[in-house]
């Protein structure tokens, strides 16, 4: 006789899947990648428990397997971030500087995100300064800062 499908392990699978997706998402953000270990481990445990329950009581296993794969991948990337930091801690200063500079250079080159507006503003400011006479005060105002410079001829 065919067994009836139950909801066993489905709740844990959903919880594992949500935490797993959040973990994977966080793991790809360098600033907070290492924190993803916490939700990742919880997600792996929930998925495994859910899978065991589903196996015992003939529940749906798909969601638990998906949750386990995603959370394991997220935790793995988060763990590698931890190794990155541990590795950096064990390197000497020159090695760290060279390594990070290479990576940043490549990313900056790849994204090609130079701030042309700021450069234009600086050029305008330079032209403005050239046209000014000496022995007077200059006021430079931005959105948040107001600078007053008094120039004296030597």
């Amino acid at each position: 006789m065919e067994k009836i499908k139950t909801n066993a392990g489905q709740g844990l699978g959903v919880a594992g899947l949500i935490l797993g997706i959040l973990c994977l998402f966080m793991a790809f953000i360098p600033c907070v990648g290492v924190i993803a270990i916490g939700p990742g481990i919880i997600a792996v445990v929930l998925s495994i428990v859910g899978l065991v329950q589903a196996n015992k009581n003939n529940g749906a296993k798909g969601i638990n397997i998906a949750a386990l794969i995603i959370s394991a991948l997220g935790t793995l990337i988060a763990c590698i971030w931890l190794f990155v930091f541990v590795g950096i801690a064990s390197l000497d200063e020159d090695q760290i500087e060279n390594m990070v500079e290479d990576v940043i250079e490549e990313v900056v080159r790849g994204t090609n995100s130079c701030n042309t507006d700021l450069q234009d503003e600086l050029d305008d400011l330079e032209m403005h300064l050239d046209s000014l006479k000496f022995d007077e005060a200059i006021e430079v105002q931005t959105d948040s800062v107001k600078v007053k410079i008094h120039i004296e001829k030597e």
Partner: protein, 142 residues
């Protein structure tokens, strides 16, 4: 037996999480830099990463200051749009059963493919940086 609508629960929770991200961005001023989540990468290495300044950029974006957000993080616009899209998509997905022109299963497939593709496009600089950092450290170890 009580049935669990997994897709509905997932949508509600993700909409809530994205809502919390927006609330977090609203709570802190972009100029202060007093956001409670630090950049662990910058704190440890002392160098910048593609995700540096994202919280401040989000705070600027929720206030409509696009130019300031661009100064904090040039990728923040795309990521913010991704979050907005996801929030709207989660809300629409809650009503997917009431939409007659598309099957629920088809909708879920579209959701999965679209979300993964957009994530890869929007987070490309961060993903590339993550992979490169890992490769460099693995190379230095072996």
């Amino acid at each position: 037996m009580k049935t669990i609508d997994s897709y509905r629960i997932i949508n509600i929770i993700f909409a809530g999480v994205i809502g919390l991200v927006f609330i977090y961005s609203c709570l802190f001023l972009p100029e202060n830099g007093s956001h409670i989540i630090p950049s662990f990468y910058t704190d440890i290495t002392g160098h910048s990463s593609p995700s540096l300044g994202l919280s401040r950029a989000f705070s600027a974006l929720v206030r409509g200051d696009i130019a300031l957000a661009n100064q904090f993080n040039p990728h923040a616009h795309n990521i913010f749009l991704f979050f907005c899209f996801q929030f709207i998509f989660r809300m629409v997905s809650l009503k997917v059963d009431k939409v007659s022109f598309i099957k629920r299963k088809t909708w879920i497939c579209i959701d999965v493919v679209l979300s993964i593709s957009l994530f890869l496009i929007v987070f490309y600089p961060s993903i590339k940086f993550t992979i490169q950092s890992m490769v460099d450290v693995i190379k230095s170890v072996f």
